[in-house]
Homo-oligomer: 733 residues x 2
């Protein structure tokens, strides 16, 4: 080797050594980004959730009734707390609140009578549902009642009001000339939230309202009543609260958590309590009230499956023309302690970012479907997460699991906890996934969520197998897509969030991106309301095991969707939220509300009503959202602060659609894009401020004022969309 | 050299090379923490701000009137924009809003008359102030008027109501038996915000109100009227708006920015407009109205410096007993375009964290003190920041500089911008430092700020020299401490924030940590109100240059305090906010409101009113705040995400004290700990919800209801303090 060679070799060696030193130095330096390490765990997590376990959880949690406020439901809370700790959560706590609940008087039962002209009760509705086989020895089954009904024994003629919808009362009063003032009304269940029926009855001046399940709405064709099938038996009836809370939570502590020290308003000042007696009955009892009604028969589309005329009472009935109807309601409101179970897994990288999976635990009776099919799924998700933690996984962000109490009494447990922790949730919550009933039909998946979650929902369902027999090898996405394609594009149908479950405070009040998923019926062909045995004693373990999901693979699929959502939201370095999807939805909603307004072309012109500002705002949002995602593609994901900044923008987008001033008359509904419909709490309305301003505007007392309100609401909507767009722009002007 | 030696030497060499490689590799790896590098720049920044420059800015910006909505004020906005760009800001923009302003009718002047029994005006107040020397040729000096006064020409007897405070009207009505209903009232300026006087007059049923400057309130002892001294001349009068906005901003667009597309309410539905004529006069004119009043003389402490009886009018006056007073008010409300100037310096490390220095630009006339003494200081801060940027400095966080418009018309420019950007500000704003008038006296520093800024204020003032002659070598802190020690501890006195300047929307509505600093009079010995020439034409450059601050070293000191605050807030890696100071203040406020309630021991007992929950909450907050700062001492400041997390906790603490439901009847006052007093907008009230519930409670119509409201407010306050404490706890339960 010559000297030159030696020198070269030596130089090479030094270079190599330097390089090794450089690389080791580079790598030894600690960095921030721990997020990617756990990506591969998603697959493990989904696989870990198994049908057999869910079946086991469902069986275990449905043996006894567990009504909110009962000892059984506290016992169940403790059991869940203990099991979640065993599964491996970092911490689990019971969080109590003292809220207003409502129970029947045990010694003075509620019922409805037909009374003759002497005041004698010649027919009484049943005091309880026939108990299903195997549950005969169970005590503490609460009979069907309308929680928070006013007490009272009003007696008068009975007027049939169809579903008790706003349009039904309009038809009665405006077209049919039938006045409900001072009467007792009877409405069939279905179509809208029962609380709205009661509110409408009160607005119409009724002094009581009877709610019944008509077979047309609670029996599927060709299906036997339970236990031979999954239809509602004639002796079954639908329990449920009849509040109009509009998101207030505990009626005595609106806006604030119902702690021991919290000031409670008087019952007179309470939010949302009905001022009239309300009571639910089954169709066997309903027949007795309805078959003797007089007056003209209602329009065909009001008739249901029973023989219905408009009225019962003196002068209207055929056979019993001196008879009246009497309600006997003795239900008591009482402040009662409830318990949420809250479990935590501390985030490894961003412990101050929260992803929440929450669903209720309290049930009217056994809760076979509502809520335990959902609670069993949450339980399995917690178990799976704990299993992964034992393998060394820890999510990037903090996971919170919640077992809410008193959902059935007005979403109370979830709302009180949201009120209690509103500040940290607004600062830190990335998303809320709801876990109420996981199944209400046997057809396909149903998802309601905020638009920014659309893409993630599609992605996750592509990673889950179809639970349907004969679809081996097909993904849930494919199965769902095949059964329920969107009318707007070639993808499965996803709907807006309405209300009626525990996401309400998180989404509508706090502006936290939210979603829910469950297995459902065929919404195009199966026209019955909800699922037939809804809120009856027949919601047992067996109805799921025998009819809805014998293999428990449907519930497993739902578990994987809900679990996959929270996993991705908690663990992806960049939040899997899609602002362009939000833009597309806004465009759709703007067009839709504009079309509604266009039904009044003359008034639009006369009052100079323009939607231009809203369309400009939506266009602005669309451009900004696209730009945001383009910048996101260029993001240096190794820069921890840069990632945090875009994640903050993504997280706070949903918050940006809220307005602390709330919607008119509904201060706790603060989301300007979505709210529960003012006419049906279950349904979601887009641009609700504009919608409500336009509603029935042709009958407004003061047209000028009414159209001014439309213009004001358009202005608020346009501003809110622009303001939300601003949050996605580069953070410095 | 032997072989071993050679080997050793070679090994050494390799080791050295490896080490060099390692070090270069270590250092080459990019890291996140850029914060410390610029620490040394604070000293440079403070030094860069110089008296001579401030003098120059003040001179330049006070040559012409620049009333909000005028061409001159737009010209000034453009000039400031251009100069800020030249100074080196990253971007500067003019941001327009179209808000309701109010101007006198140019062809139909406002004045007050004494009219005889024939209706002849036998005395008229002057239409303008005598213009100071040197300004005789200036056009567009708006005459003294009460902005947003109703139009009208009410004529009646005149009743003197002292300062027009709530307690003054109580005394008149309850003790003296004097009814103001249907009368014109005359109140002296001072003690409280003029809008509150007008509101009180309306509540008392008055049909007009005259406001005058009494020498007792607007002249200092032994001082000559301007131009020979700095007292108010007899022909001077105080302009000012007489709104009761309660933080709403533009009266036509409450809650939303007044953009072109924004819906505007009708004038009838506008927020805060007085329904009666209002007009201000000087003491030369006031003497004419007052000297002929009849009725008994008022109590000694009502007399002021003029000869005052209670009334003027038929039956009450001595010499002119058929005379009445007539107001002639023709002021017009009109929607007018205003312009904020907003300048940005992008943060190097956390561009999505904002520190704001804002003050108004619009002036009633020349604005020598209000606001240009403050605007000149902002201008100098911008210049100094630009200078540092040219030396390579860039703050860790984003700095925003604002020159607000239409502050004098109800804080409109600042409030509209806050409404426009509420979402990004709530997400991103660390602090807001206000920059209104920088001087109102010649004695020492005055600071009003949120408790978490106390420590930083003390720290900064220790880095600034005393501007006082004979105090060379003394710090501003020492000079201030010597002159105005706190009654509670051995440190200079710092007060709560009230309102009356542009921080209002940022602090009270949005919950952004805020503060203000200015040079002031001796609050213990100098009893005149504000400063004598306040809002008169005599607020010139010369009054500052000749009397208030001939060396401009006081303004320089104020510039360094304001500048030092924003510098530290923008550049410190860990935010310099002190939660323990907040805890101490909360303790003080809780004790204070409890003492107030204790004035009603019997009622407290009868209605079971307890402050325990509030005291427990404050104790809880105190423990949590101490723990937080202990953890902060252990913080690994090299961990960018860990630093960000605690900074988020610090930043959001102030936000946590706000409640979207707002205070009763004041939806835009959302801070539960601080609000402008309901009886004097200028003053800050702590626990305002409880305070207002207790106010005059002995005269409540329904005692039960009144004490229930006290209990409700205690509950809200206790919850809010607990909720704020929660934000400082470790982020995972």
């Amino acid at each position: 080797m010559g000297t030159e060679d030696k020198k070269t070799s030596s130089l090479c060696r030094l270079t190599v050594i330097f390089f090794i030193g450089f690389v080791i130095g580079w790598c030894a330096r600690p960095t921030i980004n721990h997020g990617d390490a756990s990506k591969s765990f998603l697959h493990d997590f989904l696989d870990e959730m198994q049908a057999e376990n869910i079946k086991h959880h469902l069986r275990k949690f449905t043996r006894l009734p567990h009504l909110a406020g009962s000892q059984q439901n506290l016992d169940l809370a403790k059991q869940i707390r203990d099991e979640w700790m065993e599964f491996g959560l970092d911490s689990v706590e019971l969080v109590p609140y003292d809220v207003l609940l409502s129970y029947p008087n045990k010694t003075n039962p509620n019922y409805i009578s037909i009374v003759d002209h002497l005041g004698t009760e010649i027919f009484n509705t049943s005091l309880a549902e026939p108990v299903p086989e195997g549950y005969e020895d169970v005590t503490d089954i609460v009979p069907p009642y309308s929680a928070f009904s006013a007490k009272g024994q009003p007696e008068d003629e009975l007027v049939y009001v169809n579903y008790g919808r706003t349009e039904d009362f309009f038809k009665l009063e405006r077209e049919l000339g039938i006045n409900c003032s001072g009467k007792i009304v009877i409405a069939r269940y279905g179509k809208i939230f029962r609380g709205n029926k009661v509110k409408n009855a009160m607005l119409a001046g009724a002094k009581g309202i009877v709610l019944f399940s008509d077979p047309a709405d609670y029996c599927a064709d060709g299906v036997e009543p339970y236990p031979d099938g999954w239809n509602l038996p004639g002796g079954g009836a639908q329990r449920g609260n009849v509040l109009n809370l509009n998101g207030a939570g505990d009626p005595l502590t609106p806006g604030y958590p119902a702690k021991e020290y919290t000031y409670r308003s008087s019952l007179e000042d309470a939010v949302g309590l009905p001022k009239i007696p309300v009571h639910p009955i089954g169709y066997h009892d309903a027949v007795h009230l309805l078959q003797h009604m007089g007056g003209p028969h209602p329009p065909d589309n009001w008739k249901g499956a029973l023989n219905i005329s408009y009225r019962i009472g003196p002068g209207f009935t055929d056979g019993l023309n001196q008879n009246k109807v009497r309600m006997n309601i003795h239900t008591n409101n009482q402040v009662t302690r409830i318990y949420n179970v809250i479990g935590w897994i501390r985030g490894a990288v961003e412990p101050d970012r929260y992803v929440i999976l929450g669903g209720h635990r309290d049930a009217w009776v056994f809760g076979g479907i509502d809520p335990v099919s959902g609670a069993a799924v949450v339980h399995e998700s917690v178990r799976a997460a704990g299993k992964l933690m034992k393998k060394g996984w820890r999510p990037r962000r903090t996971l919170i699991f919640a077992s809410w109490d008193a959902e059935e009494f007005g979403l109370l447990g979830s709302t009180e906890w949201a009120e209690d922790h509103a500040r940290v949730l607004q600062e830190r919550a990335v998303a809320y996934i709801n876990a109420d009933s996981a199944i209400e039909g046997m057809y396909t998946l149903r998802v309601d969520c905020t638009p920014s979650l659309h893409t993630l929902v599609y992605d996750i369902t592509k990673k889950v197998s179809s639970p349907e027999e004969g679809e081996e090898g097909m993904t849930l996405y494919q199965s769902w897509h095949k059964r329920d394609n969107s009318t707007e594009r070639d993808a499965p149908w996803i709907s807006k969030l309405g209300s009626g479950s525990d996401f309400e405070a998180y989404f509508i009040r706090l502006g936290i991106a939210s979603g829910r998923a469950r297995y459902t019926k065929n919404r195009k062909t199966e026209r019955y309301s909800s699922y037939p045995v809804y809120h009856s004693v027949y919601e047992t373990y067996e109805i799921v095991e025998r009819f809805y999901d014998p293999s428990f693979r449907r519930l497993e699929a739902v578990a994987r969707v809900r679990g996959g959502l929270i996993f991705s939201l908690a663990d992806s370095p960049v939040l899997p939220l899609d602002c362009v999807e939000y833009a597309m939805s806004l465009t759709k909603y703007a067009n839709s509300i504009y079309q509604l307004a266009l039904k009044h072309p003359a008034a639009m012109q006369q009052h100079s009503v323009s939607f231009d500002s809203l369309f400009f705002a939506v266009e602005n949002f669309t451009v900004v959202a696209r730009d945001f995602h383009q910048r996101l593609d260029q993001l240096d994901t190794s820069n921890a602060l840069a990632v945090r900044m875009v994640n903050d923008q993504l997280m706070y987008l949903e918050r940006a659609f809220t307005d602390p001033l709330g919607l008119p008359g509904r201060p706790f509904y603060r989301h300007i894009i979505f709210a529960p419909s003012s006419h049906n709490k279950y349904a979601g309305e887009s641009f609700p401020g504009i919608y409500d301003a336009l509603f029935d505007i042709e009958n407004a007392v003061d047209w000028q004022k009414a159209w001014d309100e439309v213009k004001r609401q358009i202005s608020i909507a346009a501003f809110t969309v622009n303001a939300a767009a601003e949050t996605l722009k580069p953070v410095v002007s």
